[in-house]
Symmetry: C2
Subunit: 217 residues, 2 copies
């Protein structure tokens, strides 16, 4: 193989062990050089500016600014920046938004090292790579109508266990309006009651599970 500039990679991942593992794996690979690491969103942006990597490997779940926002922010400054999203399981919503934001590839953490390396090379040379599992979910999602902002607000409250009356109070609208929104979002989500709406929202990542911990705010 001809001697070439190595692919400069930035690794953004908040779990120490996973991050160190990734770096260790990648640094022994010929033609790949890890030029930076970040454990949260802010740090990721700083590191990107400093190192201008060819490819950024990024987890979507990050402290201080989620992965999707990081991708968007960086792409505003550097439109040609290339991202590989690296995540464990995650709801469909995040996948969708990450790709919208400009990620070129999506990898589940269960992949092999070879797949990871092949994907880095592919993305660096301008290709995209979406695993079949993910592609299928995206396809399923496509038929789905978008929720309006207000419907989203209501759905969020439903997931947090609020009654219609409470939601009305919270959003400062009448209970009738809440019902209207619910009726509409039930249809869009393809479910028949609020409980199904709540689990669907969690499962699809529309409302993050973390927000359930201590929600009383």
């Amino acid at each position: 193989m001809v001697a070439q500039e190595p692919i400069r990679v930035l690794v953004v991942e908040d779990h120490h062990v996973v991050r160190q593992g990734l770096v260790a794996l990648l640094n022994v690979v010929e033609g790949i050089e890890v030029v930076g690491e970040a454990a949260d969103g802010m740090e990721a942006i700083a590191q990107f500016r400093r190192h201008q990597p060819n490819v950024t490997l990024i987890d979507l779940r990050l402290p201080r600014m989620g992965g999707v926002d990081v991708i968007q922010r960086i792409r505003m400054e550097t439109p040609h920046a290339r991202f590989i999203v690296l995540t464990t399981y995650d709801g469909d919503e995040d996948i969708y938004r990450a790709l919208q934001a400009g990620a070129r590839a999506y990898l589940l953490k269960g992949m092999t090292t070879d797949e990871l390396i092949a994907t880095i090379r592919a993305v660096h040379s301008g290709k995209s790579h979406i695993p079949p599992v993910i592609a299928q979910r995206l396809a399923e999602r496509m038929g789905t109508e978008e929720l309006t902002p207000r419907e989203f607000d209501v759905l969020e409250q439903i997931v947090h266990g609020k009654s219609n009356k409470e939601i009305a109070g919270e959003l400062d609208i009448s209970e009738a309006t809440v019902k209207t929104h619910i009726n509409s979002l039930l249809g869009k989500l393809g479910v028949t009651d609020r409980t199904q709406a709540a689990t669907a929202a969690i499962q699809r990542g529309i409302v993050p599970l973390e927000s359930l911990r201590k929600p009383t705010s």
Copy 2:
């Protein structure tokens, strides 16, 4: 430091990258030797039998038999076996059951390498180690009453979006009985309606999120 037998460690983790990272990290540490790796529950048991490790590092979410079951099975054969549970986030229920099953330590994947090593050494020398965050959740959980098996069945159906009538059909009991169980489990979970019960069940890991994917079985 005096030359000693190294601590023999088995790593059980289904994500290739994470597992390889862990192994790479641990193998450079003085006094620790990774004697085996497993990517699922069955393999874990086989590897344990073969290598008889001093400490087993185990993820709770595994294909083909969950981590908790693995711990229980191994401890039946080898009661003195020592486990460190290693997991990302996970509901309280799993933590609780893992400790019940005999795990000596619980580590979140966000920990540092130093913490990991320190914990391995501690557990090997017979100590336990539960992070404060986890300990606190366990404490909160303690006041909680256990659900009866039947209540659990009903809760599961609720999470899957079934109506009372459907649940009655599914469990082959009357709708009245379903209501009785629901009334009881709402109290035990400290919630006021089925939607809250569903999100609580998911959030606490009582009903696994994965079971929501394509549940129609």
